[in-house]
Amino acid sequence: MPNTTARRCLLHKTVLGCAAALLLTPLSLQMANAAAPEKDELTLGFIKLTDMAPLAIAYEKGFFEDEGLYVTLQAQANWKILLDRVITGELDGAHMLAGQPLGATIGYGTKAQVVTAFSMDLNGNGITLSNTVWEEMKKHVPMENGKPVHPIKADALKPVIEQYKAQGKPFNLGMVFPVSTHNYELRYWLAAGGINPGYYAPARGDITGTLNADALLSVTPPPQMPATLEAGTIDGYSVGEPWNQAAVYKGIGVPVVTDYEIWKNNPEKVLGVSKAWADANPETHKRLVKALIRAGMWLDANDNANRLEAVQILSRPEYVGADAEVIANSMTGTFEYEKGDKRAVPDFNVFFRYNATYPYYSDAIWYLTQMRRWGQISEAKPDSWYFDIAKQVYLPEVYQAAAAELVAEGKAKAEDFPAAGEEGFRAPTSEFIDGLTYDGRTPNAYINQFKIGLKPDSVL
């Protein structure tokens, strides 16, 4: 509504103030207040998943407004539309898959420079299989006191897939986007159990990702996962919450493993903006990150004490919109596997602790190694290439500036954030389902360890 300003003037009779607003030029404004945001009315996109929570909280708790930002949050139909809208500028920024800014920058899919200065959360995904597949698979899962031993490995799924093969039936799995964390987690889990999820061969024009595949992976938007599983189009899926818990609630499938068990505290979503936008709006960008850091802190404060309130907010139709009890399952630190088999996973959704929101280069590099492992990056790259791309896409300097201001304003403590001298790499970890060690400083050596996957110099 272009005439809103005028209308509000009449309504609130602040004629003088509004007249001044209309007369003053932007130039005099900039002279009056050098640190004002370049753009104060923003539209941010999101996909209906519980890990969009920092956006909803920053809006509802007024953190955006505290930074002088008037943000409209807009649900998007799928990850592709969301990315395209960020690139064309229809959206100022969006809740993105960590792989999206990286994929866009190296030109896998849509080629465009997309950057991030804020990681939104750790973990939060799961893999769900249909009831029939679970019945078959359960026979091969080790049991203890009548309950399956966790983590459930894909070794137990292998005989089921072989059965499908013998009958000449394809085994279809859904994931949300070719460069999504869910794709790599699903692939990691399957490959750790000896199941080949298939390769991409973009050099040959094959971007289906099903070359030599034992299980055929395809894309479905997150909110449609349960309906697609129910329709029988896919036999299982890898997706964020609440869509795994929704399957339990609706009785159409069983979540078998969470991504926390595949890789403990793995980085998940980021706040993605186009590089052009970030260059043109540095102050706005910093303020956005400030508001989101505060939202992350609020979500994790006092051992998740605010999570129930967050669940109520997220269950509103304009945000995630699923039933509160479904969202509450995972958001409040529990996860329901088979119906009734509710287990504690306190770190299922991490929004701030363990430096969850800091944009580590090593997080970016892990995604790049998986892109190479599955052929999305079609040729071998030196280690230095991995570091270069990570530095192009991840902007810890923006985060540091935002954090420093929060500390100065007394809204956060310096010890909440990584130490000043950090170099962008998390400590090496072997907390993966297959026990392999990941060190972000040696990407090629890491890729070499996998039994299933391209080696640094293999070409498809």
Binding site: A21, N33, K48, Y59, E65
Partner: protein, 329 residues
């Protein structure tokens, strides 16, 4: 009533009067009521026996409660909007107090559009598309009706484009609009332009065809009158052709409007443009236990609004038609 000779005829008159009244009321009020009641009953019965993954299919009672839920939501959002503007006022005052030269302004509300706002958006969009289409279609139809040659030239195009689904147009329209319609401070949102153009493309054809037929079948006597009076082409169209073709033009317009309304909902769903279609899609994606009921509310509202739009066109037709006794339905 002491005199039976007088009372009897009065009694008879009253009785026949009642019979007439009954005869008049039965078809126009009672039967539709009966139909609706039977439908509601059938709905309630069937709904109870459909189990979906989102719970039981909502019956009339649940849908009614969802409707009042949507009204509550609208009112809540209204309050939030007021609070939003108040916060801005306070902030602006503080800013001005600190720096009298500071530029302050009131930003548009950033909250979500409610169901009722979506209805307004949809109506506005469909009417815009419809008006654009009519402005093109009626003159085109008149020209085609007057000249056999032009008709023969254009007819194949009409026949080819007429059956094209709006959803086939949509991607093209979206891409073209975002390429052509660029301005730093656009008067209309791109999504609005896309929806309106898609609606217009699909609204054109019924009006063009019906106008053509109406004009081409002009009564010989009327044509002769025009010839005898030797009217100029323009007054021929204004005083003879248009009045005679009004019924057919309106038949076309009503068909167009109905098509446009159907097209719009589909376009909003697919393109994620604001409006009722987007509301339905969002609810489908939410997949909460309220979702089916809320979608049913939208379905009924879409039907009712379509009906109201058609009635409005009928009233307009009555108003502009010279033959006030024609049986319009």
């Amino acid at each position: 009533m002491s005199n039976p000779a007088v009372a009897q005829p009065i009694h008879d008159t009253l009785k026949s009067g009642r019979r007439v009244a009954l005869k008049r009321w039965l078809p126009s009020v009672l039967l539709p009521m009966l139909g609706i009641l039977a439908f509601l009953l059938f709905w309630q019965l069937v709904a109870g026996s459909i189990d979906t993954s989102l719970g039981k299919f909502p019956g009339p009672a649940q849908v009614a409660s969802q409707f009042s839920g949507l009204i509550d939501e609208h009112q809540r959002e209204q309050k939030r909007a007021d609070a939003f503007f108040e916060r801005q006022e306070v902030r602006n005052v503080a800013k001005l107090a600190k720096d009298p030269d500071a530029k302050v302004r009131i930003r548009a509300y950033t909250g979500k559009p409610t169901f009722f706002k979506q209805i307004v958006t949809s109506l506005y969009t469909v009417l815009t598309g419809f008006v654009i289409a009519s402005l093109i279609a009626i003159p085109l139809g008149i020209v085609c009706g007057l000249s056999k040659a032009i008709y023969s030239a254009i007819n194949p195009l009409i026949q080819i484009f007429k059956p094209v689904s709006p959803l086939a147009w949509l991607p093209l329209v979206t891409i073209v609009v975002s390429a052509v319609y660029t301005s730093s401070d656009p008067m209309f949102a791109k999504s609005f332009v896309t929806s309106a153009v898609t609606v217009a493309l699909c609204c054109l054809w019924p009006t063009v065809i019906n106008t053509t037929v109406g004009v081409a079948n002009l009564d010989k006597d009327l044509q002769n009158v025009s010839r005898v009076l030797s009217l100029s082409p323009l007054s021929h169209v204004r005083h003879i052709v248009l009045p005679a073709a009004i019924p057919m033009i309106f038949t076309g317009l009503r068909l167009s409007l109905a098509t446009g309304w159907m097209v719009l909902i589909a376009a909003e769903m697919l393109a994620q443009n604001p409006g009722l279609g987007k509301f339905i899609w969002d609810e489908f994606q939410n997949g909460s236990s309220n979702s089916l009921g809320r979608i049913m509310v939208a379905v009924i509202v879409i039907g009712l609004l379509g009906f109201v739009l058609d009635r409005l066109m009928l009233m307009l037709q009555r108003y502009v038609s010279w033959d006030k006794n024609a049986d319009l339905r």
